[in-house]
């Protein structure tokens, strides 16, 4: 590193003193959320979800040129991988936590990566964020799953932090290439 470049790095106290931008706060929040999932702190993860959350992962179809509206199944109407509220997400977590849910016993190892983050709309009440995700899951010895796709989150300011009001997960797979979906996104 040249001495010229190192001069551009802010002294530590300045970095702390600078208030984080909204984007930085959102980034921090989503990184923290991913960590809770990867550390299997599912109750803490649930606490980040708004009571009225809509958590939705549609099916993906191979569609005809000029008919992009055919690509994803519709929320609230069609089949989906997930079309959930908080009560059913809580049930899924209760299922995971009993030691008798054999598809996740022993629990998987996972790493959630959240990237390409962009705030696409923001008001006092709501922030809409788009990102890409990459979720690596490894279970028992050699079960490996790789989920990659796009996400749109609607966050709601809450205390000094956020709650997730809505999450739409667009997985880049029309056929699920794995035997089950026991992972949260």
């Amino acid at each position: 590193m040249t001495s010229e470049a190192s001069q551009n790095i802010l002294p530590a106290d300045t970095a702390v003193a600078t208030a984080p931008t909204l984007k930085e706060r959102v980034e921090d929040f989503l990184a923290h959320e991913a960590e809770l999932l990867d550390e299997r702190r599912f109750d803490a993860w649930l606490d980040l979800l708004d009571e009225d959350i809509h958590y939705w992962m549609p099916l993906v179809r191979n569609f005809e040129h000029g008919r992009p509206q055919d690509e994803y199944s519709r929320p609230g109407v069609d089949a989906a991988w997930f079309d959930e509220g908080k009560a059913t997400l809580r049930q899924r977590i209760m299922q995971l936590q009993g030691g008798d849910h054999w598809a996740e016993e022993p629990l998987s190892r996972s790493t959630h990566m959240v990237t390409n983050l962009r705030i696409v709309a923001a008001s006092d009440a709501e922030i809409t964020v788009k990102c890409r995700f990459l979720v690596y899951v490894n279970r028992r010895e050699e079960e490996v799953r790789l989920f990659i796709g796009k996400r749109t989150d609607v966050l709601r300011p809450h205390g000094g932090d956020f709650l997730i009001r809505k999450r739409s997960i667009f997985l880049d797979q029309s056929k699920m290439l794995f035997k089950n979906l026991t992972t949260f996104f």
């Binding site: 991988w81 029309s174 035997k179 979906l181």
Partner: protein, 449 residues
């Protein structure tokens, strides 16, 4: 019956033993594709997927890719999705509406009834000698049964009705609305498709009658899934009425059903959707309407079953169909259609859809654990050492199964037993062995006349 092949005994259902090789061996797999899948009627989809003329969807007939169409004459066609020129799939969208399918390679064009209608260079290149009538898409024989669509490419196969035999009552009953109205279901848009690392027979035989694997579903039983506000995963868990649990099998075809036979006719409705009064009211009315329509047969609760070899349905409010599509000895593609009652209020459709999405498929809280089981059972099937021991299907092997018992109207060809047993699986493998060996079935020792 005993099926001997490739120098070893594979199936001995008189002793309740099945060689693990049938779940793992490539040569056996190849043979079962030819002898079992290509000679059976197979489910491809539901008519509510193609309500209008020109509608189509992609499906699988066993391993073969097909496109299912509703043509201009309102006929349903099941066409091999392979161009007759060089073998390209002519349709590559999961569903849509089209009069014609034009092959992207050289542009041969097929009507949605399979006819070859256009060939570039026909006049100069083929000298007008190409007989278009000989080069249409390969068409399957098609049968429609209360909304379900079935097909086979085998010209020599018996009619669909003969293939189904006495199972017809149950398949029809499944396709009814909760109020007993014929052809009362519609598909929820979107088929759940996933891949599991196991042989197709594990899922198929499980649905024939494995009532023995409760430990697998302990977690969902604990958490609760049914909308009765009670624990449990089935809506009938709330019903205190006394019933016999029956394994109803049809040895002639290999089909099987799991059902409750209630002791007394005219049982009262027990609230099964208490979480939502409007939904509960619908099911209450439906319960009594069904009693009227079905008469004595209303004592039966159809819980689900299998049409041999790979069509599985879940009934009793968990209305879904699963097709087990073999992709190799230890690889299966699972396709799942979910259904709601066609004429029900929107609130009912929503409630059932929500229940089903949490129940079924790779994201379903119940079936996640089933898929885990079959993937794990494949470990044992692939183990050469484990193959020293056959798979054990001896649960309640004996003489307690009876023809058309306890009620003759269940079907003359029904061989029934009661409670938790592996009777239905023994029938499943009996039929499998019969098709593999081409030998007509022998006397079935289990049936005590």
């Amino acid at each position: 019956m005993i099926y001997e092949d490739m120098g070893r005994r594979l199936i001995d259902t008189d002793s309740g033993l099945v060689d693990r090789a049938i779940f793992a061996d490539q040569a056996i797999y190849d043979k079962e594709m030819a002898e079992v899948f290509e000679k059976s009627w197979l489910f491809v989809g539901h008519e509510s997927q193609i309500p209008d003329k020109g509608d189509y969807f992609l499906s699988q007939l066993g391993r073969e890719p097909v496109v299912v169409t509703r043509d201009a004459k309102d006929e349903v066609n099941v066409l091999l999705n392979i161009c007759t020129h060089r073998g390209m799939p002519v349709c590559r969208y999961d569903r849509g509406n089209a009069k014609l399918f034009t092959c992207p390679y050289h542009g041969w064009t097929f009507a949605n009834n399979g006819d070859l209608t256009g060939v570039p260079l026909r006049a100069e290149g083929y000298g007008a000698q190409l007989d278009r009538s000989k080069w249409g898409l390969i068409k399957a024989r098609v049968a429609r049964y209360y909304g379900s669509i079935w097909a086979t490419f085998d010209e020599a196969a018996p009619s669909f009705e003969d293939f189904l035999g006495d199972m017809a009552f149950w398949l029809r009953e499944f396709m009814m609305a909760p109020d007993g109205e014929d052809d009362g279901l519609e598909v929820v848009d979107g088929i759940l498709k996933c891949e599991i690392p196991s042989n197709w027979k594990f899922g198929a035989e499980n649905a024939a009658g494995d009532l023995y694997h409760d430990v697998s579903h302990k977690s969902v039983q604990r958490v609760g899934l049914a909308l009765t506000k009670l624990r449990g995963r089935h809506t009938w868990d709330a019903d205190p009425a006394k019933f016999k649990l029956l394994n109803i099998t049809f040895p002639a075809g290999g089909h099987a059903v799991r059902g409750n036979l209630y002791e007394n006719p005219g049982r009262d409705y027990q609230s099964q959707w208490a979480a939502d009064p409007e939904v509960d009211a619908y099911f209450r009315d439906a319960h009594y309407a069904r009693q009227k329509r079905l008469g004595e047969k209303e004592r039966l609760l159809n819980r689900g079953g299998i049409v041999f070899p790979n069509f599985v349905y879940n009934a009793a409010n968990r209305t879904s169909i699963t097709s087990w599509i073999p992709r190799g000895p230890s690889r299966t593609e699972v396709w799942k259609w979910i259904f709601v009652p066609k004429k029900a209020p929107q609130a009912v459709k929503d409630a059932m859809r929500n229940y089903l999405l949490r129940y079924t498929g790779p994201a379903g809280m119940v079936e996640q654990d089933d898929f885990e089981n079959w993937g794990s059972a494949q470990v044992g099937a692939n183990s050469i050492l484990a193959r020293r021991l056959p798979m054990n299907y001896q649960l309640r092997l004996g003489d307690h199964a009876r023809w058309a018992w306890p009620e003759r109207w269940i079907g003359e060809g029904a061989l029934v037993d009661e409670g938790v047993s592996e009777h239905a699986q023994r029938i499943f493998y009996d039929r499998w062995a019969e098709m593999m060996s081409g030998t007509p079935q022998a006397f079935r020792q289990e049936a005590a006349e």
